[in-house]
Amino acid sequence: MSADAILSFTNVSFTYRGDWLQRVHALKQVDLTVPRGSAFGFLGANGAGKSTSIKLVMGLLHGHQGDIRLFGQPLGDHRLRASIGYLPEHPYFYDNLAVGEYLAYMARLSGLAPAAIPAAIDRVCQLLDLADLKKRMLGSFSKGMRQRFGLAQAIIHQPDLLVLDEPFSGLDPLWRARFREVMALERKRGATLCFSTHILSDVEDLCDHYGVIDHGVVLEQGRLEDLVKQAPLVLTGSGPMPSAAMGNHDGTWRWQFPEAEREKNLAALPAGAQILRLERNRIGLEDYFVARVKAFHAAGKRLDAPAGAAS
């Protein structure tokens, strides 16, 4: 475990009884580190083990093997959760409580002083456009509104660690952008951000660290910049075309190659060729991910982290 880890899993396994009491291995010897002050994106397909990991941290599941540490302390003391804000996946709230009432309830449970609660409610309502809805009952909220409210209740006590399970689920593009802003603001405030998603671009936009889980096994984790390097480069140019490039309709050409071949290929450009753009192919990154997961399934074992990846 890294000394500056706000959350760490060391050799954590978790098994539960599924239908017909069948044993389901949800997590298998997971090692994971969320550095303090980072924005950590937890990637994985549905059912990969993201929510299970989060629920273990939040004390909603118990009985794991291995060591989970929160703020450097072993999991178990409920008081540690005072500094965590949590947005569950597909959140649902009491139908017959109003927005303001529920936020006050959450603030009190988080240990906020009664005198500080009205200001905290105003702050989060303003951030998430809930100011006009304070007296509205939560039972009347749509999925997207519940998600907004979910984020509001998670940040009301200005936690040190913000754990968000699929925070962008059910949001329209405008609110996805707004959520990103709010999460960036929280990070700027000093909070560590840890969220799960199965959408890589969310991680690329917000995170500096990432972890990938599949079938309860952490495939890789590390700095995002190391991951991004795995995405191929796309060079768009004009003039004489390299033999490996493909022509575009507008007379320009496009050449895709791995990061490792950057220097060699740039030096090998034909004389007179002009570089218009050199950028990473994000679709290529998605492909890289799919390839990694497929390789994992094919090998039937844990994969090594990509070259240069370190937490």
Binding site: R79, H90, M106
Partner: protein, 251 residues
């Protein structure tokens, strides 16, 4: 923390449709109770009083079962408890807060029913006396025991099954009251088994003072005290069982 949870639970419960609907049904039943009094062959006032107090008990138990069974299991199904239990509080505080909040709501409902019932009886010329208040108090304790029963069943099973088991416990709870009069018909092991099984269910007959109260049959103070203690102990036992179950629950 417990008080915070209890207050939120109470607010949520008293605003629920089930709660308000059953209160409305009680009002309707009370208004119709006089008709039963008119058509009865005996003293109409006695019958009206009996109906009003029985309605308070039945409606209270229905509210307790309906709201109590929703308390834990539906919270798990709808994941409403995720945001609560992720706060710095142990699960026992959550369960206790939930139960106390439900109790607050039920007591509020029961007091409202008692006041409405007594006003109605007074307005219709039926005698209103001190013993009716004692009957009302014991009915409230019965409802609180039933709330604890529902809470316990909902932690152990699904909401629907918990509701069925809750109502079955209510019926059994009243049936076991007559057991001492019947148990002498059994012998040996049968008698022991019957007594042991009966002791697994709260004797709700302890709180059914309604019929005696109507006829102004007095209840001794120490007897009343023992019945209240009996109710309190059952509530405590059931809440402890619920806590033990919920603490182990995977959410």
């Amino acid at each position: 923390m417990i008080a915070v949870i209890a207050w939120a639970t109470c607010r949520e419960a008293v605003r629920s449709r089930t709660f308000l609907l059953l209160l409305a049904v009680y009002l309707l039943g009370v208004l119709m109770s006089r008709i039963v009094g008119w058509i009865s062959a005996t003293d109409g006032n006695v019958i009206t009083t009996d109906v009003v107090f029985s309605l308070q008990s039945i409606m209270g138990v229905l509210v307790a079962v309906a709201t109590g069974t929703a308390l834990v299991h539906i919270e798990i199904q709808q994941k409403t408890l995720y945001t609560v239990l992720s706060r710095p509080l142990p699960r026992w505080q959550f369960v206790l807060g939930k139960y106390l909040g439900l109790c607050l709501a039920l007591v509020a409902g029961q007091v409202a029913m008692l006041i409405i019932g007594l006003i109605y009886l007074a307005a219709t010329g039926a005698p209103v006396h001190y013993w009716l208040l004692i009957a009302g108090l014991l009915t409230i304790v019965e409802v609180l025991v039933m709330a604890a029963v529902s809470l316990c069943w909902t932690a152990l099973s699904s909401p629907l099954l918990a509701a069925v088991l809750g109502l079955a416990t209510y019926a059994l709870g009243h049936a076991v009251h007559s057991l001492p009069g019947l148990v002498h018909h059994l012998h040996g092991t049968q008698q022991t088994i019957a007594i042991v099984l009966a002791s697994l269910v709260p004797d709700l007959g302890q709180f059914a003072y309604r019929n005696e109260a109507v006829y102004r049959t007095p209840i001794a103070l120490d007897d009343l005290f023992m019945r209240l203690v009996y109710g309190g102990l059952w509530c405590a036992l059931l809440v402890v069982i619920t806590v033990a179950v919920v603490r182990r629950k995977q959410l």
